[in-house]
């Protein structure tokens, strides 16, 4: 156990150490300054602007920025849906897979456009190499870049004193793609292949096993996709069992690299924020609040899994912890750390089966999702969602001390606070409505695998994950039935789950983005009040505590009743279902 805590502690130290250098680099990228890659990438960048016919220097107000973002994402939606639906007539389809049905394809499209990567489809049994690369890998880049562009725009809104400009959407997206995501992805992908992860476009191969049976090894361009799936907090795996599959995550080394890739950009963005607003402590304050919440998750999930499940104890298994649905090379500590990391960062990849976690251990990913993905959170999305909570905390703090709330010198008025409240409440509300629909109507039932409270947990988790654009799953819950895997014979989608889930992902991604851009628009151009003795500080421990309190309060008040019905019942109960 001590070994387990040591691994976790050292991992966290590495994250803290890498946060400033990457944070500085990204700040330079968003301030349009020179970085060490500029000589190589500047021509590529210029060529890209010319090809798409945009002027990166043209400044956009929040409406212009939002309009471009929506049109751009909408067209990608159409393109991805078309790719998925015409799979059978495309190249690079060595297994000759047919297209998945319309409902499953709609769900998958929504999932990847929104940086969710929720998977009703089983990668290796449904999608061709072409769909995985040209369809999904590209979205892993683009949807991540869109999230990061939004946070850059929000920071400019907070900064801008003289005009309504938030920057230029094209410039932010293109620079994110070429200067941040692509170089990091190449580094991570190389490390992964060096550590044993697959990278080929060859056909699946059949091995004659030691005992003489046939074993079909599904292969594909895995490392290139896994690298960006982790860096872009996407999470959609090449294989159905995601990063539990040794071909995706081959060793303790690749597990470490992938974990770091998952959390690095969201953590470093807090430093980028501090750098861009010119007050580094402001960035660290947000980092501290995120880290505090993150530690709570880890400290609960690891011992819970170490303890084992009720069912295992009843079967007479008392040692070694809960290894059902976990891999030996990862063990309890790396599985628990992974689960805390991916569910709080909106990543959604799994290296162990969440559905088989203990009651309390399974409550951790739910709690992480219940906080609306602000514990580091998705790339960009995590920071802008946290900044929404910061505005609410400033407002609440202002009420408590009886002062006009100000953040970084800008007065928060009715419009900003209303927009921030809406942004904070929209996603939780979506979760509760959709879970309610799926539980209370007969349409939700065919998707549920387990009986009793576990069935409720599966449903709640499905909509928590999709609304928060996370993508991890209590995998019993399904929207796609493939009776004859591998191959698509006799398979069908469960339209209710597919469409409800797909709609949820789209709405819960783009409505908050619009609200955040509107907040940025409202803050842009406001005059900055000088710091006085009465100004409430937002960079000290008191504020960190207040911020954590607001996040927990909103999450807890929204989800406590629902959590009671699922994981909490399970961890208190000694009964089997």
């Amino acid at each position: 156990m001590a070994q387990g805590w040591l691994q976790i502690a050292i991992f966290l130290v590495v994250v803290v150490v890498l946060t400033p250098p990457l944070g500085i680099y990204m700040a330079r990228v968003y301030r349009n300054e020179r970085v060490f890659l500029t000589p190589v990438l500047a021509p590529v960048e210029r060529l890209t602007y010319r090809a798409i016919g945009v002027d990166p220097a043209r400044e956009q107000d929040w409406k212009g920025y939002a309009r471009t973002l929506i049109v751009f994402s909408g067209l990608f939606f159409l393109a991805l849906y078309l790719i998925l639906r015409t799979q059978s007539i495309q190249p690079l389809n060595p297994q000759g897979f047919n297209s998945a049905p319309w409902d499953v394809s709609f769900n998958t499209t929504s999932s990847f456009i929104t940086n969710t990567n929720w998977q009703y489809y089983g990668g290796e049994t449904t999608l061709s190499d072409f769909s995985q690369m040209a369809g999904l890998t590209v979205q892993n880049f683009v949807s991540a870049a869109v999230g990061m562009a939004v946070v850059a725009a929000l920071i400019r809104g907070i900064l801008n004193r003289t005009s309504k400009s938030l920057g230029n959407f094209w410039q932010d997206t293109v620079r994110t793609l070429f200067y941040i995501l692509l170089p990091l992805t190449v580094v991570v992908a190389v490390l992964l292949v060096a550590g044993g992860v697959l990278q080929t476009v060859a056909h699946a191969i059949t091995a004659k096993t030691v005992l003489g049976a046939d074993q079909l090894l599904a292969v594909g361009p895995v490392a290139s996709q896994v690298a960006i799936k982790q860096l872009g907090t996407n999470g959609g795996g090449f294989f159905n069992v995601n990063s539990a599959m040794p071909f995706e995550n081959a060793s303790a080394f690749t597990n470490f690299v992938e974990l770091l890739a998952i959390i690095l950009i969201p953590a470093a963005l807090t430093y980028t924020f501090g750098r861009m607003v010119g007050r580094q402590r402001q960035g660290w304050a947000i980092f501290a609040a995120m880290l505090a919440l993150f530690l709570v998750l880890i400290v609960v999930v690891v011992p819970a899994e170490q303890h084992g499940t009720v069912a295992q104890h009843m079967a007479g298994l008392h040692n070694g912890g809960n290894l059902e649905g976990k891999e030996v090379r990862n063990g309890i500590a790396q599985s628990g750390l992974w689960t805390a990391t991916t569910t709080s960062t909106s990543n959604g990849s799994v290296n162990s089966a969440l559905d088989s976690y203990t009651g309390l251990g399974g409550a951790v990913p739910m709690a992480a999702l219940g906080t609306s993905e602000v514990i580091f959170g998705g790339v960009g999305t995590g920071l802008y969602s946290m900044l929404v909570f910061v505005l609410l905390a400033v407002f609440i703090g202002g009420l408590m001390v009886g002062r006009t709330p100000e953040y970084l010198g800008k007065k928060l008025e009715a419009r900003e606070v209303k927009l921030a409240s809406l942004a904070a409440l929209f996603t939780p509300l979506t979760v509760l409505v959709t879970t309610g629909l799926a539980i209370a109507t007969k349409f939700g039932k065919p998707s549920i695998y387990a009986s009793g409270p576990q069935g409720f947990s599966e449903t709640l988790y499905a909509y928590l994950s999709q609304a928060n654009n996370n993508g991890s799953a209590f995998a019993g819950y399904t929207g796609f039935v493939q009776p004859n895997a591998p191959g698509n014979g006799g398979s069908f989608g469960i339209s209710f789950a597919d469409v409800l889930g797909g709609g949820t992902m789209v709405v819960a991604r783009f409505v908050p983005i619009l609200l955040v851009l509107a907040i940025a628009g409202a803050l842009a151009g406001k005059k900055v009040a000088p710091v006085g003795p009465g100004t409430m500080r937002t960079d000290n421990p008191t504020f960190v505590v207040l911020l954590v309190g607001v996040v927990v309060l909103v999450g807890a008040l929204t989800f406590f009743p629902a959590l009671l019905l699922g994981p909490i019942v399970q961890s208190l109960s000694t009964q089997l279902f």
Partner: protein, 215 residues
Amino acid sequence: MKRTLISSVIAVLLFTAVFGLAYPLLFTGVSQVVFPGASNGSKLERDGKLVGSKLIAQDFRKPVLGPNGKPKTDKDGNPVMVADPRYFQSRPSQTSYSPSATFFSNLGPNSTDARDEVKANIASYLALERRYDRGLTAGAVPADAVTQSASGVDPDISQTNARIQAHRIAAVRRLPMATVNKLIADHTDGRFLGLFGEPGVNVLELNLALDGQAT
């Protein structure tokens, strides 16, 4: 608006070409040259024939034959399998060790199925190993031996599990315990930097090495 639309269409095509095709294909080419072993799936060969992947577990059970000489099947029509005592056994798998259609067992923490499954796995582990390891008690059965892995193809077992099975292997193959334990140590992957993850014994490599000893 129209300009944004045209720009977006070009951007979709351009980004798909760069990030969807050029990046993965170029990277595939480079990996194939620089890391041919790993990028093709860490294949293992025996007598020049592909026997599996180092990263993917195999079934070391054989079908039980009925009185008519044909494999017996259970009520679902699946063949009844029994451990081949000459080999180290991989962890239980919900997918019959299929690496091409992976899924989780999804056995919940409070499920009767999970209890029954673990109970049955403990019983069959004891039935197989206690003949050779007299001191083995139900309480000492390692967790990894009676629970299903996440991938269904976990290539490793724990060192405790391997050391228990070593008694059987040594007896059946008439090898000294020291030899078997040495082979286990040779095929144990340690923690990364001695720190991260857990040590695991690679079952396929170990069994191939055992077969190599015999000849």
